[in-house]
């Protein structure tokens, strides 16, 4: 907002802006719904929503553009609590929350709830241990904090590296979400969609930095919330007559459990699971007999094709088999990687599905109680140390506002999270009712639409041309986006959900880009390389760094390295292990010193990255590494790598600190400044100097 506008509107400016925007958005949706009835094509509805979302970003960026450093990085430090809570809530609600969370609950039932507990429980740590102290410190970045507390360039560098690494992994997940949405809803190629989405983000943060981000994100929250609430409310009203899904999905849950019990015990389901068990056994043998089994497999298929040709089988079947033969991995190493994945998949399908409410149901599948608690641990610690979230607390007007802001932020986040379980339950109910046992030719249209972009797959293993539960794979990232189609709602609702998903992914991506950019341009360039750089030159550097990082993120995302929720969980483990011990000990344990912090950060970070790389990936073809996979320690998933990284970080920090000499008086003073309110501290400054030990 311009200064003149701020003068006229005073404190009500932000509230008015958000309200106007909500009305505008609702009107747009209604107009589009009317146009759809008049025959507007689905493709055009998709376009309108996409460009609307991007337009909001660009316009806000344009109107709030700034060339002042403090405005650019911390929005002038005068943002009120509710408004900053709303916008940092949006910052927080990423593609993983909007798209991934309900999907995870759909796929793994109770097991997915680790994300709900972890992501919200982390806010308590954030409120109690981080936000007020960071605000009191009041500089620009997290490495600023570390460097001031512990002293020296080395700690700033390691801090910046950790910030960049965690944010980069996280931003890749967001960009991947953008690609997913654009490729489905406006049928763009995945790659093009990724770059288009980024362009929108760049316009905004490029011009306005944190200040533009504040306003854009408040607007994005409106889109996101309306888009998340509408479809599930309609669906729940339609099916149960109760339009309050977050509180009253119990009825649907009971129905679901009954239907599940009936469906999963049907004889054809049992038979299909047995077929998958056989397939798993065959794959196991093939993996053991590599490389001979690969040659054999190729020959077996060749023979079969010859036989089919001789016996005059249908051309379609022959072509299918030939395609399958061509798809065989080229080298034994690739075969090992591929078959190991196939094996996991087959084993998963061969297991009896478990009820949604049952905790820790499949210990062998990584669903043990230990895994669940470990994941919660990583997500809470990670939430309290994610740089893009912590940075926000620098921009708030005062310490007491910072405390309130965390509350508002979690409040706005909770509005979305409380709905996620209802999504999972209602959608699963619809899928079970309308697709299972249905002939393959007459499956609902959404199955085909999503199969086309490879996110839903149907594998008729028993060739009965009917769909069984175990034969259907739905990528969890699809659930929320496909809900309107699954429920048979008008397409305009689908478009709206897509816009909501875009808003979530883009707003988070933007916050992350800003945190990477400030680590690179503020910490590494300005503080370490060129302290004499002028402020306009610093902004030029940040802006160009931002473009470079955005392009890098997009080019990683088009490789589709893992699912959204996985990538996000890694980012949390990395951020938690590297930053949390140094930040918390920095405030609460005056004895922690530079050597300890450095050693702790490096140890925590390396353990985490090592664990993720070796447990998750058997091979990294890009680097030419094969066969690096290892068995997880105590069966803990790669997603919860921080369960090892965080304690290692803490222990190393404490031990090394105790072995080296205590920190000097500067850091004692620094800690006092953080702990006591400014007035108490300032009085100490003037009168208390004499008695300083």
């Amino acid at each position: 907002m311009s200064n003149r506008l701020r003068l006229i509107l005073g404190e009500y400016g932000p509230a008015l802006f958000v309200a106007l925007f909500a009305v505008g958005f609702t009107l747009t949706v209604l107009v589009l719904a009317w146009l759809e009835q008049r025959g507007m094509s689905q493709r055009w509805i998709g376009y309108v929503f996409l460009f609307l979302t991007l337009l909001v970003f660009s316009l806000v960026g344009l109107f709030t553009r700034t060339s002042d450093i403090a405005e650019y990085f911390v929005a002038g430090r005068r943002v009120p609590a509710v408004y900053s809570g709303m916008s940092s809530g949006t910052d927080w609600l990423s593609a993983a929350s909007f798209i991934g969370l309900a999907g995870a609950l759909y796929q793994s039932g109770y097991q997915g709830l680790a994300f709900v507990i972890g992501w919200t429980g982390g806010y308590v740590l954030l409120a109690l241990l981080m936000a007020p102290y960071l605000r009191k410190f009041g500089q620009f970045t997290l490495p600023d904090f570390l460097a001031t507390r512990y002293g020296g360039h080395a700690i700033r560098l390691i801090g910046a590296v950790a910030v960049i690494l965690a944010s980069l992994v996280y931003v890749v997940a967001q960009v991947y979400g953008v690609g997913l949405i654009t490729s489905r809803f406006i049928t763009l190629q995945f790659e093009i969609g990724v770059y288009l989405g980024l362009a929108g983000v760049l316009v905004c943060s490029f011009l306005g930095g944190m200040r533009a981000l504040m306003h854009a994100q408040a607007a994005q929250y409106v889109i996101l919330l309306i888009a998340y609430i509408t479809p599930i409310t309609i669906l729940s009203f339609d099916r149960t007559g109760i339009p309050a899904p977050p509180v009253l999905y119990a009825k649907a849950m009971h129905q679901l459990v009954d239907i599940e019990n009936e469906v999963f015990n049907r004889p054809e389901e049992v038979a299909v699971r047995a077929l998958y068990a056989e397939r798993a056994k065959r794959l196991e043998q093939q993996i053991d007999n590599l490389p001979g089994s690969l040659v054999e497999e190729r020959k077996r298929m060749g023979d079969q094709i010859e036989k089919m040709k001789a016996s005059g089988a249908s051309v379609r079947d022959i072509v299918l088999l030939e395609r399958e033969r061509r798809a065989l991995p080229a080298t034994p190493q690739l075969a090992h990687a591929k078959w190991r994945n196939d094996l996991k998949d087959a084993l998963h399908r061969s297991a009896m599905p478990v009820s949604d409410t049952e905790p820790f149901a499949l210990p062998d599948d990584g669903q043990s109680r230990a895994n669940f608690l470990a994941l919660i641990f990583c997500l809470t610690i990670g939430t309290a140390s994610l740089p893009h979230l912590l940075m926000r607390y620098y921009s708030i007007a005062s310490v007491s506002q910072a405390r309130r802001s965390v509350f508002w932020s979690l409040f706005f986040v909770a509005l979305v999270y409380l709905l996620a379980p209802a999504y999972a339950v209602f959608v699963k109910l619809e899928v079970l009712k309308h697709t299972i046992g249905v002939p393959l030719e007459s499956l609902p249209a959404w199955v085909n639409a999503w199969t086309k972009i490879g996110l839903v797959s149907v594998d008729d293993i028993n060739s009965d041309h009917l769909l069984q539960w175990a034969e259907l794979t739905i990528n969890p990232d699809v659930i929320v986006l496909a809900t309107p189609e699954i429920a048979g709602l008008p397409y305009v609702i689908s478009g709206m959900v897509a816009a909501g998903g875009l808003a979530a992914a883009l707003s988070t991506a933007e916050g992350l880009l800003l945190s990477i950019t400030s680590a690179l341009s503020h910490d590494i360039y300005f503080k370490m390389l060129r302290p004499d750089a002028s402020s306009s030159w610093r902004l030029i550097v940040s802006k160009s760094v931002m473009v470079a990082v955005a392009i890098l993120a997009a080019s990683i995302a088009v490789q589709r390295p893992a699912s959204i929720v996985d990538m996000v969980a890694w980012a949390f483990s990395i951020a938690g292990a590297a930053l949390f011990p140094a930040l918390v000990l920095g405030v609460f344990w005056p004895r922690a010193n530079r050597a300890g912090a450095l050693a702790g950060m490096i140890a925590g970070l390396s353990v985490t990255v090592f664990y993720i790389a070796r447990v998750k990936f058997d091979s990294i073809p890009l680097l030419g590494w094969y066969g690096i996979g290892m068995h997880p320690w105590f069966g803990i998933d790669a997603a919860a790598a921080g369960i090892y990284g965080v304690p290692v970080g803490f222990v190393t920090n404490v031990l090394v600190s105790l072995l080296t000499k205590p920190p000097g008086p500067e850091s004692q003073q620094f800690i006092e400044r953080l702990r006591y309110p400014r007035i108490l501290y300032n009085r100490a400054e003037t009168s208390g100097r004499a008695i300083d030990v």
């Binding site: 109770y110 709830l113 709900v116 507990i117 919200t120 429980g121 806010y123 308590v124 740590l125 409120a127 109690l128 241990l129 007020p132 977050p246 509180v247 009253l248 119990a250 009825k251 849950m253 009971h254 949604d356 409410t357 049952e358 905790p359 820790f360 109680r369 669940f372 608690l373 919660i376 641990f377 809470t380 005062s398 310490v399 007491s400 405390r403 309130r404 965390v406 509350f407 979690l410 409040f411 909770a414 999270y417 409380l418 996620a420 379980p421 006092e672 702990r675 006591y676 309110p677 400014r678 007035i679 108490l680 501290y681 009085r683 100490a684 009168s687 208390g688 008695i691 030990v693």
Partner: protein, 89 residues
Amino acid sequence: MSDMTPLRLQQKRYWQKTLWLTGLLLAVWFLVTFVATFFSAALNHLTFLDLPLGYFMAAQGSLIVYIVLIALYAFLMNRLDRQFGVDEQ
């Protein structure tokens, strides 16, 4: 170290109260986050709002507790600031 100025004493009292509050709220947080989750299977035998309690706690109950904890912290800390006459408004 022995003789402290009134200001030092005040600083110390302020910080100790902050630590107590932080510790107390963290203890509740730990109970809800880890202990309740650990016994989730057992809690599922009870029902709340017609849902198994273990599931409800993980899906929504703990989230509501967190919001209350943060609100309490903000309220009590801001009150503490006023008591010490150091609030920044």
